[in-house]
Symmetry: C2
Subunit: 230 residues, 2 copies
């Protein structure tokens, strides 16, 4: 299942949407929501860390990690290292981002883990972590046997893309949930902040779509063995 | 990109999850939300048509349409007809389901089209409709030239799966949005209805995951030419 298009073309769209989405979420949290803080009497500033780290970390850096094999014209071993390191950064930022949401809840006496967003989020971060550890052990160090690598690669790609698509969908859930809370507290449904949040979510979804399209497209010629199982 | 597993195995999970999800959404809307009605003084009964038709129509019947090529051991032409008819039914139920949401809003003086769920929903139903019409014209009647069919098939599959994954994600958004409204009106966050709605959303997401896994798996042997472009 391939698009027949050169992956690099789609990867430019990924980079552009990633920058736009990152700027939008930062503008939202700083200009409209008062900024970010790890310790604060205004507990909302602690929450604001959550969307910023999840979007820039898990979604944008995670998406760049996924497309590294298809977007870059480097040696396979270098791309593997980039893939591993970017996913590691995405995972750590994702975990800190989730911790910020719990910290905000706990310091504001808000219940934890009652919403679909939180349930899916816990499942996704665990799946993401398992994927990273499995990838590290089997494809990097100490490395599995050739038979294990060959048998694992399609599942590594499919489960990884599954976790990623779920993460993008769950980011959309998060934007909708937070905006619904704000609108229930009086924020204008057709106001500038509502449009900013909804368009950030739309950019996030489009980013995910173009990450998947990049994966389904043709790698640069010098790179034809990278995703040999695809 | 294939799982190496026989598609029929995953398709049984799809059927099971589809039945479970359909029962859950019906139980929710009838037992907890008072039932369904096209005309009613209690306008919530009009809204209830929306999740029932979207989940059973667009998601479950649409998912069964997608996997028909991989799950059934019938002649290719019969499977194509099943694919076409099931998607047609899914599309019509989806349109009526969306109309019910507008009808509920209009008769309750609630604003239309301000939420991410509604924005994505409009985009998805348009994409779904375009896909169906394109599929009908190119692959059924009058039918495109062999070159057009060959060139179109990978894109028909990719855009179709994209629209479907977006529909599943948007169903999750819808469950979360409605439940957030209900919780803001006093529904218990850890009560039985909240759990029912969240688990219905989880079943919906899992249904979508297994539809995609079925598509990425091996068709029955007598059927090897069906998805020749995959």
């Amino acid at each position: 299942m391939t698009t027949g298009v050169k992956a690099v073309v789609f990867s430019y769209v990924v980079h552009l949407l990633g920058i736009v989405g990152a700027v939008m979420v930062v503008v939202w949290c700083i200009q409209f929501r008062g900024g970010l803080a790890w310790e604060a009497t205004n507990k909302s500033l602690i929450f604001n860390i959550h969307p910023v780290l999840i979007l820039i970390g898990l979604i944008v850096i995670g998406g760049e990690a996924i497309i590294s094999y298809k977007a870059l014209t480097l040696k396979k071993e270098v791309k593997k290292l980039i893939h591993l390191v970017l996913h590691g950064v995405a995972l750590v930022l994702g975990i800190v981002g989730i911790y910020a949401a719990f910290k905000y809840h706990n310091e504001s006496n808000i219940a934890n883990l009652y919403s679909l967003h939180s349930w899916l989020g816990m499942g996704i971060i665990v799946l993401y972590g398992i994927q990273w550890i499995y990838g590290f052990v089997v494809f990097f160090f100490p490395g599995g046997t050739p038979a294990i690598r060959r048998g694992s690669l399609p599942w590594h790609v499919i489960v990884g893309l599954l976790a990623y698509v779920l993460a993008v969908g769950n980011a959309a859930l998060g934007f909708l949930e937070k905006l619904t809370f704000l609108e229930n507290s009086g924020l204008a449904k057709y106001g500038s902040e509502a449009f900013l949040v909804n368009f950030t979510a739309v950019v996030t979804v489009l980013f995910g779509v173009f990450v998947v399209l990049t994966v389904l497209s043709e790698a640069p010629p010098e790179d034809e063995n990278s995703y040999s199982a695809l």
